[in-house]
């Protein structure tokens, strides 16, 4: 009852010997995720937490451990290289947590990714990652607020995802899988990619979709929902009060030239049959009212 990750996901962590990588690798392991390898060039042969073998290259790690997914914490100067190395090793899933990757680097990554359609998925960068509650946590989200169940969550924002999950769990509603796609202008999976998987997953019965100002991913998602989505979608768009021309934290969260406003996104989603929560406090109750 999930998409993309589950009990069988075998995770390697790129940047496992760094402070963020090490901390979160340990948290993922405590949640029950199978962390089978770490990769840090120059640290091959070491053991992380005296149990997880560390390799110099992703190819080595895959060959020796059968890892099929990578979780990346490599800092911005080496992050695009790390993503491309994970692609090169043929991994099915690459989740990049790193915030602050230059957009010129991501244009190249994205171009390579497009040649791997059907083979490799990229989630992020600048995202909290992905979790299938009770089965696999690949990211930095607090595991304990989640509960296994049948609602999918897809979001550009980390803390707003936690907010939505917290509300669902408080109402006794569990989640199938929760995915943060990140707030960068150029990234991997977008709303449509994730909604398509939720639509096909028999154990996902409804979806919360959280967008924000900037770009046109929410509008494209709305078009797709109108044409294809068979399950209820409740949405929230952050940034109704954001002034134009100012970057609101996320690199991609900016209204420029009158494009990317919250009002336009809300209108598109409502026209597609979604219910848009009037405030961020009402995300779970809005979805419940549709079920």
């Amino acid at each position: 009852m999930s998409i993309i990750v589950g009990k069988d996901t075998r995770v390697l962590v790129q940047g496992i010997t760094g402070s963020a990588g090490g901390f979160h690798a340990k948290q993922c392991m405590q949640y029950g995720t199978q962390v089978v390898a770490g990769v840090t060039p120059g640290r091959g042969g070491e053991k992380f937490e005296s149990s997880v073998p560390v390799f110099d290259t992703v190819r080595d790690a895959v060959r020796h451990t059968g890892a099929n997914a990578s979780l990346i914490f490599v800092p911005p100067p080496g992050a695009a290289d790390a993503i491309l190395e994970a692609f090169d090793a043929g991994l099915e899933l690459v989740v990049c947590i790193t915030e602050g990757i230059p957009v010129m680097d991501m244009l190249k990554v994205r171009r390579v990714l497009e040649t791997l359609t059907g083979k490799t998925r990229l989630i992020g960068p600048n995202c909290p990652g992905i979790i299938t509650p009770g089965a696999c946590k690949m990211g930095i989200m607090p595991g304990h607020i989640h509960k296994p169940g049948n609602i999918g969550v897809v979001s550009k924002s980390g803390t707003l995802t936690y907010e939505a999950v917290g509300q669902l769990t408080a109402l006794g509603i569990g989640q199938s899988t929760c995915i943060g796609i990140g707030g960068d202008p150029v990234a991997g999976m977008d709303f449509i990619d994730v909604l398509d998987l939720f639509n096909k997953d028999p154990d996902t019965h409804g979806v919360i979709m959280i967008g924000e100002i900037g770009g046109g991913a929410e509008e494209r998602g709305a078009e797709w929902i109108k044409a294809n989505m068979k399950k209820p979608v409740a949405a929230f768009i952050a940034g109704t009060t954001a002034p134009p021309g100012k970057r609101m934290g996320h690199a991609g969260a900016i209204i420029s030239g009158g494009q990317g406003t919250a009002a336009a996104k809300i209108a598109a989603l409502e026209a597609a049959g979604c219910k848009v929560a009037p405030t961020p406090s009402d995300m779970a109750t809005t979805l419940r009212s549709m079920m």
């Binding site: 936690y162 917290g166 202008p185 030239g257 961020p280």
Partner: protein, 403 residues
Amino acid sequence: MKIHEYQGKQIFAKYGVPIPLGYPAFTVDEAEAMATRLATETGSPVVVVKAQIHAGGRGKGGGVKVAKGGAAEARVLADKILGMQLVTHQTGPAGQKVGRLYIEQGLDMLKEFYLGAVVDRDRRCVAFMASTEGGVDIEKVAEETPEKIITVHVDPITGLMPFQARQLAYALGLHTYSKETVGKFVKLMSALYEVMVKEDCSLVEINPLVVLKNGDVMALDAKVNFDDNAEFRHKAAWAAVFDKDEEDPVELEAKEVGLNYVSLDGNVGCLVNGAGLAMATMDIIKHAGEAHGVTPANFLDVGGGANQEQVTKAFSMILKSDKVKAIFVNIFGGIMKCDVVATGVVAAAKNLGLTVPVIVRLEGTNVELGKQILKDSGLAIIPADSMSDAAAKVVAAVTGGAK
């Protein structure tokens, strides 16, 4: 990050994008001296005195003037423009103080065009846009006559190909000026693509791009924005072109301590972890309070791992605005533990002698511990259970409905 026209032109020159002769000036004396120098170098007394601020629309606002009578006239114009509060459609009503000038040679031009490059986030590539409607507000052209804007998309693997530049050149009718004009434009555009990629720009714009009487093409203006994420590749170069006088002083201070801050006009200070939640916090304040005149004073994301020092700093920045009548602390602790935030809030409240009500909503990791710390502090902190509960309490606190 934005830079000035003259700085953009210095980068253009390095990559071979043709620009007119010109020199920056920081005083009226310098402006006169540079005008004299240009007259000697070009053999023509005509110079243009241009205000250097980051906002567009400088000409319409009175920040760009032609001196036909040489250096003495340039001096008079420089004296008027330097130090003026220049108001354009991009500065807001307060305008921006002019602290620098650019003195440039005057040119005989035949026609003005527009040429710009941006990162097209929906197509995931660099897109070039060109138009025969140069020298005017391009956003207006895009809105009113979108058919007058021609676009090409660049594959990041091949880079800009000459045929793409030729497509734009012929569409703009550049072949009608001289035999060489198309070739010169192709060279200019290829150089501009190099600027975009190698200097990590999010936007490069030439408005206007001009064709001269001799058939040459030239960048008469330069707008260059850098991708902040790439700062680590250009540390020294970007520090050298950074003009702090163009920045909001509070936002600048926040940046220095690693906080994301945007000043707004309202009366409720916000301290939040996470960019999305920070935006949503502003939204819910306005949703609950707009009818009562209660609106957010700022966007503030303290990030995932803020320490006590940063929380204190965040409070002191919020309190710099005397409009602030209440503070809304909204934390969903993931990596960030609620007890750490609570300790920071208590310490900041004590150190700064807070006089405005503070409404705190904590959720997530160690929430019970955090709530206890707030309760035991003896401070008049108003706890809230959810975002909507907190927003209601914020409105009540500002309008005097609760203590």
